[in-house]
Symmetry: C2
DNA sequence: GTTGCTGATGATACACCATATCATTTTTTC
DNA sequence: GAAAAAATGATATGGTGTATCATCAGCAAC
């Protein structure tokens, strides 16, 4: 079974156990995100669904679907790029730590990493010392992946 | 002399020594950013200039001016919020470290802090271990300032 | 001083991301 | 199978940003 199919099956079960429905359209959008490791915009996903499944999908619906998938913790929104990616831990059963996103500014490839708790705690203390609270310890870091870096060189 | 005026004078000298011109419009946009500590969008700055100086300023010009001010290291662009702020170190003569931005998700107040070098190095190593390079070690952190947090409570 | 160059600004059009609103369809539930 | 709820469609609009071409201001050289 493909990695994508495995993730979708997992998502299906997760939704069922939470009493919500992974409808056909929602599955299509999720698969669009799963089949690559690049971040995609809502409009790109609408195009993907039209091309791949032959069904026109209005942008409005894609946004609603992405919102649903976010609530179910199946996708993440990357505010830095205004794009979306599948959560890389869909198939994990265990609770996972806080994700940090490395976004390649050139090719949009995204890698989800976990930063050591102690580093995040240090950061948190700096922030609180300045009179602010982190809304979410999820950071988005503007990067270049090594492929793009080597190409540029 | 007001804090704003001091910063503008400093910017003026800095531009002169770099052989570029801080024109009237550029000064107006910069003053729009300096007179508050909130992040502002290009369009908000255009409105500000129109209201305050009675001169219509097309968005296109504001973007060009912001680009100029960024190159002169007088302002920062916050990609997370699609807004801009004046650099909080305009009036410093010394070179300063890498800035991290705390952005209040509610009121757009921005605080520019410096994180310890060792913390940033740890982060950098994590990123490089994942096959990416930081384009810029400038992070933008989605926060709530304590004022907004207390209001919400 | 006027010719021509350069840098700065204006005007217009357009692309992309996102949401508001109301209509329609599909699915549940009884 | 009718009423209620959930999901999706259609349309309009707003915010951010860029591409492109035109115009204007300052300045150098003759």
């Amino acid at each position: 079974m493909s990695r994508v199919q495995a993730a979708i099956d997992h998502a299906e079960n997760s939704c069922k156990s939470r009493g919500v429905k992974l409808t056909n359209k929602r599955r299509q959008v999720l698969s669009g995100l799963l089949q690559s490791n690049k971040a995609k915009s809502a409009y790109e996903l609408a195009d993907y669904c039209k091309d791949k499944f032959g069904q026109k999908l209005p942008a409005m619906s894609v946004y609603r679907i992405l919102e649903f998938l976010e609530e179910e913790r199946l996708v993440h929104k990357l505010n830095l790029a205004n794009k979306y990616i599948a959560c890389s831990h869909i198939t994990c059963d265990h609770d996972h730590g806080i994700s940090q996103f490395l976004i390649c500014a050139n090719c949009q490839t995204v890698k989800e990493i976990t930063v050591k708790k102690s580093t995040m705690n240090t950061l948190k203390r700096s922030v609180e010392g300045a009179g602010f609270d982190l809304v979410s310890p999820q950071m988005e870091l503007n990067c270049l992946c090594h492929d793009c870096k080597n190409q540029a060189a």
